[in-house]
Amino acid sequence: MADPRHRLILLAAVAVLVCALFLAVNLTGKLSYILSYRAQVIATMILVGTATGVSTVLFQTITGNRILTPSVMGAEALFVLIQTSILFFIGSARWDSVPVVGRFAIETSVMVVFALTLYRWLLVGKSEDLYRLLLAGLVFGILFRSAAELLQRMMAPNEFNILQGRLFAQLTLPESRLLGIAGGLVALCVALLWRYRRDFDVIALGRDVAIGLGVDYPRIVTRALVLITVLISTSTALIGPLTFLGFMTATLAYQLAGSQRHALLLPFSALLGVIFLAGGQLVLEHLFAMTGTLSVVIEFTGGALFLLMLLRKGRL
């Protein structure tokens, strides 16, 4: 097991096994219906796990730390706020006349513009003070969440119901129309990011070193931030916000990969994301007979892991 590639293959095998178990355990009733339903759930999990795993590792490489994650910095809450505002100011009747693909494209574009502005402003030139940044990110997250909540309270009840259905299309209720687009987007973003994997190895050494070694730093970082934002929007559109999933997958990926190379880190993190989601749901559903609470459990484990890391190290 000294070779990280062997560990990667093993992890891939575990991921496949967990997904297979998720499909196969307790098959009763109408087979074709259950299988197609579970396949949709699994597809959602694979997309969300991959998107979260990849975007978190790259975000941490770009910001040069292993604590900040896009979700902790409020990215998912921002996307929820954007969806809420659009529905609030435009109204569901007019907004629904736009086809699903168009709606998603507009929401994601708005998100990219806002996220790029916010993170460039927050991250550029202020990175010497990690704590302030992290705290500001958390408070931005709270701000976006409360603003969305406020708008939701001011909505007409039927609009609110429509929004609820969209925001919390939970893991167990996959949005099948969105799956195709989301799959294409995630594949495209990951493929584009994968091309830069060696540049990211250099960027991880720091901005000045990377520029000195001939990496086109501003261009790659801007592109990566755009792609990361698209990944986050996609995953949030599919299952809603999951604050600590990315933190867990990235933290474990660094431990398991035992290497700084993104060619390894990215697949490790993505696979871990899939395993957490599918495995967690499997355990919850069949051991505890509870569905729809996976996000809560991930919130709990991820938050506890964060605190534990902090306590063990005594610092960030």
Binding site: G292, L307, L311
Partner: protein, 318 residues
């Protein structure tokens, strides 16, 4: 000019109280107040309790934020990020499941107990950290809040209480009626006691060694103050729910304007805390009349903006 500042602020808050008495879905029959005793009903059953609750809760939460900031020597701590409010919420859920019809006093005691435990847990965690940055403390607090909140949500989902829980905790003053708000007077009393021990708190805020050298019983003062914080937040969480950021922004704004002489700033903290809470609640009643938006929801947005301004504006402070 300076001598007039406090009376003017006091008058402003009284003005807001009158506005709060006059604002709402049902009209107060002002003209008949002198002749018809029944005309007082709206005022006495709903508006007056609500207004008093706003003033008391607003000032108590703000002052308990001030206490925490002095005791932990950290500007960015507040009750909600020090374990008390998330723990009290869990307590309210537990008693709501175990004994739904429990009288308010029992709920209060349970919430206070949980809130003390939450605060103790937070302080235990703090003792284990080497504090390189003052900003680490609120970070830990927010994370602890997220973990406790996840436990609460999990239990609530399990017992199908999620909706009631959200309603209980939303910082909604529209549910305050006669018979429910009276325990808040206790909170007001506790806040008054803080004023009496203000100078001792200042000394405790100088650190353990200084306080002991100056002949202060460090442990008991610290314990007393923390118990007040835990009780205040337990009770307020039971009666109105959470008031996000209030305990953080009010002491910070006052400290920017008036400095850190605690005994002198406590009255200001009380006024500003009550004023902001009143303003948020009145706004919540007006924006979408005749429907109401909880003051807590408005405070969440307003407070987060002010917090970000304080946090990002002076990079070498706190």
């Amino acid at each position: 000019m300076k001598a007039l500042a406090f009376p003017v602020a006091l008058l402003a808050v009284i003005g807001l109280m009158v506005a709060s008495l006059a604002t709402g879905a049902g009209a107060v029959p002002w003209g008949r107040l002198w002749s018809d005793p029944a005309a007082w009903d709206v005022l006495l059953i709903s508006r007056w309790p609500r207004t008093v609750a706003l003033v008391l809760a607003g000032m108590a939460v703000s002052v308990s934020g001030l206490i925490l900031q002095v005791l932990t020597q950290n500007r960015f701590v507040e009750p909600a990020t020090a374990g008390t409010v998330p723990a009290a919420s869990l307590g309210i859920l537990v008693i709501g499941i175990a004994w739904p019809a429990a009288p308010v006093v029992v709920k209060m005691l349970v919430a206070t107990g949980f809130s003390i435990a939450g605060l103790a847990l937070f302080l235990l965690i703090l003792r284990r950290l080497s504090l390189r940055s003052a900003l680490l403390i609120p970070l830990v607090g927010i994370m602890l809040g997220a973990v406790l909140g996840a436990i609460t949500t999990f239990v609530a989902v399990r017992y199908e209480m999620l909706q009631s829980l959200i309603a209980w905790l939303s910082g909604d003053f529209s549910v305050i009626l006669r018979g429910r708000y009276e325990v808040l007077w206790l909170v007001g009393l506790l806040t008054a006691m803080v004023y009496l021990i203000a100078n001792r708190l200042s000394i405790v805020g100088l650190g353990r060694d200084v306080a002991i050298t100056l002949g202060l019983n460090y442990r008991s003062t610290m314990l007393f103050a923390l118990m007040i914080v835990a009780m205040v937040n337990g009770v307020v969480t039971v009666v109105v729910g959470t008031l996000p950021f209030l305990g953080l922004i009010v002491p910070n704004l006052i400290s920017l304007m008036k400095g850190d002489h605690i005994r002198r700033t406590i009255p200001w903290v009380c006024l500003l805390g009550s004023g902001i809470t009143l303003l948020c609640d009145i706004a919540g009643r007006v924006i979408r009349a005749p429907y109401e938006i909880p003051a807590g929801a408005l405070l969440g947005v307003f407070g987060a903006v002010v917090f970000l301004l304080v946090l990002l504006r002076e990079p070498r402070h706190g």
